[in-house]
Symmetry: C2
Subunit: 442 residues, 2 copies
């Protein structure tokens, strides 16, 4: 589907932007994007910034967009003219992708004339939410796999096309070895992996014929799916097939098991392969895997070399939503605060300061940006006046950052079990500002 990115927003963003324009409210507004909670996670991983910046740089309204918007009640001629010449001219500070973050810490801060900063809310949330969600799930799979390779198999059950492609990117950042999604290979240069489907075996009827044909046609990537009928019987056929293929100079790279008791089958298959002289042939598991089942297989010492992860990864199926928000914290130089029940925000333009002790992260403080606070400031300038301050980061650099971030986390947070929360303090100055705003409004 070809989508009009300028219209990927909620209707109210246009209604508000036009109203601000009518009122002449174009002073500088500062919005912060943050996550309120992290159920089922010990930490989150910032991701999606690259797509967010790309969106801000490219956001335009073409004549077909404008023709549609003109038919809406807010589509007055002066507002349509404003949209026609729209360019995002704001500043953005953000956590670099691959940075570990916690609830209430801004991931992204937008400072721009109010109508501009408002208009981009929905798509910024949409882009940053999804990859942060998936990277935060994927890193748990990586921790569970303890060095074994992980491959993203999620496209078929990802929520649409963009989710499939961006899940591949986010899982690569988290340490996956690659993806099956071809478009993610093209768009991001990710390593592509693939085996065969059950249909391939079924179409041949005879497994031996299917295995021989696939290996001969794909000699560099001979990975055979062995659970279509009887997994252990198929492993024996693999041994026979390997003898035939060896004479042709073709080695079997791996077999894949997609169903049944993966631990028991992997052990049985490993024995059959080893006895058949196929000690170098790897075993890949797939089929409804998530970090918990991967952890159990690894702890059991199951002889599995790689895992394909689908729905659990691409849909973050245990917790498919992060409660995130994009909130106004300052307008025309004055701090702003929302006090809605259960959803109050901390006011002011903020920074996150992270302290370390003995090479481990020891605690964060969310403070006003200009407050003198111990620790490394995490939000860095990424866009000024609508232009990036640096070229896009490489995915390798982002992936390396996350690896060192995880190494610096308190050990308990790198376990799958939910640990006591990492300490995140709200600075005294922010608390004082909130109290002052509340008092002034009474």
């Amino acid at each position: 589907m070809a989508l009009h990115e300028g219209l990927l927003t909620d209707l109210y963003e246009f209604a508000m932007a036009r109203t601000y324009r009518v009122e002449g409210m174009a002073e500088r507004a500062v919005f912060e994007l943050f996550v309120r909670a992290q159920p089922g996670r010990n930490f989150l991983v910032a991701a999606g910034l690259e797509q967010a910046l790309d969106y801000l740089e490219r956001l335009r309204f073409d004549e077909s967009d404008l023709a549609f918007l003109r038919r809406q009640t807010f589509g007055t001629p002066d507002f349509i003219d404003w949209l026609r010449s729209f360019r995002f001219e704001g500043d953005v500070d953000a956590l670099p992708e691959g940075t570990v973050l916690f609830p209430n810490e801004p991931v992204l801060r937008v400072s721009a004339p109010l109508p501009q900063a408002q208009l981009v809310e929905t798509r910024l949330l949409n882009l940053v939410h999804f990859q942060t969600l998936i990277a935060s799930k994927a890193v748990r799979c990586v921790l569970a796999a303890r060095g074994r390779a992980l491959i993203d198999y999620g496209l078929r059950r990802a929520h649409g096309a963009e989710a499939g492609v961006l899940a591949a990117r986010a899982s690569w950042i988290a340490g996956f070895a690659g993806t099956a999604t071809v478009e993610a290979g093209r768009a991001f240069g990710l390593p592509l992996y693939g085996t065969m489907a059950h249909a391939f075996v079924q179409a041949h009827g005879d497994e031996t014929a299917a295995f021989l044909a696939f290996a001969r046609a794909n000699p560099g990537n001979a990975i055979l799916l062995i659970d279509t009928y009887d997994t252990v019987a198929a492993a024996r056929k693999v041994v026979a097939v390997a003898r035939t293929l060896a004479a042709e100079g073709i080695a079997l790279r791996a077999v894949r098991i997609d169903s049944g008791d993966l631990d028991a089958l992997a052990r049985a298959v490993r024995s059959v392969l080893d006895e058949g002289g196929l000690r170098e042939t790897r075993i890949i598991a797939s089929g409804g895997l998530d970090e918990d089942s991967i952890d159990a297989l690894v702890r059991a010492g199951s002889p599995l070399d790689a895992f394909g992860v689908g729905s659990a990864l691409a849909c973050a199926s245990d917790h498919p939503v992060l409660d995130c928000a994009y909130k106004l914290q300052s307008y025309a130089g004055g701090a702003r605060r929302k006090r809605s029940t259960g959803k109050a925000t901390w006011p002011g333009i903020k920074q996150v300061f992270r302290r370390a002790a003995d090479d481990r992260y020891a605690g964060d403080t969310v403070a006003l940006a200009d407050e003198p606070i111990d620790g490394k400031p995490l939000l860095v300038p990424v866009m000024r006046a609508g232009h990036r301050v640096a070229p896009p980061e490489s995915l390798d650099a982002i992936r390396a950052r996350l690896r060192s971030e995880v190494d610096a986390l308190p050990t308990a947070l790198t376990q799958l079990a939910i640990a006591p929360p990492y300490p995140v303090e709200i600075s005294p100055a922010i608390r004082a500002l909130a109290a002052q705003l509340d008092a002034a409004s009474r």
Copy 2:
């Protein structure tokens, strides 16, 4: 993000398609797409067919796709040439969108030369899975709302752009009144709804000033968000604002409450509005709603007129994945069966027959397509030789179909609580065929 739709597939589809080509395996293959289970649902709703057919009609590989594929190991010159002239030439039979379905019933059946039918697997699953998932969730919200209006607020936390837009479409099919997602309004002609965000109130500081400005700038759509600071106090300001606006000929359409105890606040706000003479001003609720919370509010008699539903809808957050599959059932005229543990398929080319008694659906039989079985056959021809047999159905027709489908369901299935399963039988002929295939393979 501009995606290359031809590459929205798993790598192995290309590897298999090329291998079939090398082997000369281009006989007719029949694949069926079905769902294995429906946790948390009493029935599912078929959706996404329109996008699936559109994909099949438009699928091409352009030179930039081919340049990328050429660099893969399977990218041999003859295969690249085949892809260059690729046109999907198969037949498709499917459940019309808006049809109620149950596990193991084919949603879609593809009959095409094997390499073609294989190549389209991943994207067909991706498209049909997502909208079926969302429509099946959305219809539960509609049942819970018992005639009150529902609006899709899901884009910001939907999994990417396409998910946001297609969730709007699927929820409209299920009976939602409309969506906040502008691009869904453009792409599908859906009614668009919008109010204001907390940022709008915060930017003004003073609620009364914000309410007056918004109503004056949007006189036909004056919906005011009243929970930024103190909801009941804001309702009193609304009454005062309404008096000012009445003199200008502007009526307040509604107020929205997005946090707190929605039932208690709605009652308090209703009283304030009624006492202030605003009996026609509606109250809209939003903020983490799903079918259960909507049901509770409606049962409590809460004076709410409409509900905005976000993440629970657009991510189907309680069950964000349907266990669906696209499996080979027949090749070159011979039935095929997968026997993997826990994932065995029923072989043969199938049809779903639905029986009714006293204007209610009484039970389905999944049978061979040519078996004489009581009931209405549900899969209908939608594509022949790569061309649609009819123009796209209107969304209104699809929505009306689902409404009459739900009216025909046994009452217990239209409740939110999980009822005993609707009876779906596998025909004796299919069971005999499966036994025969199993025996032949021993």
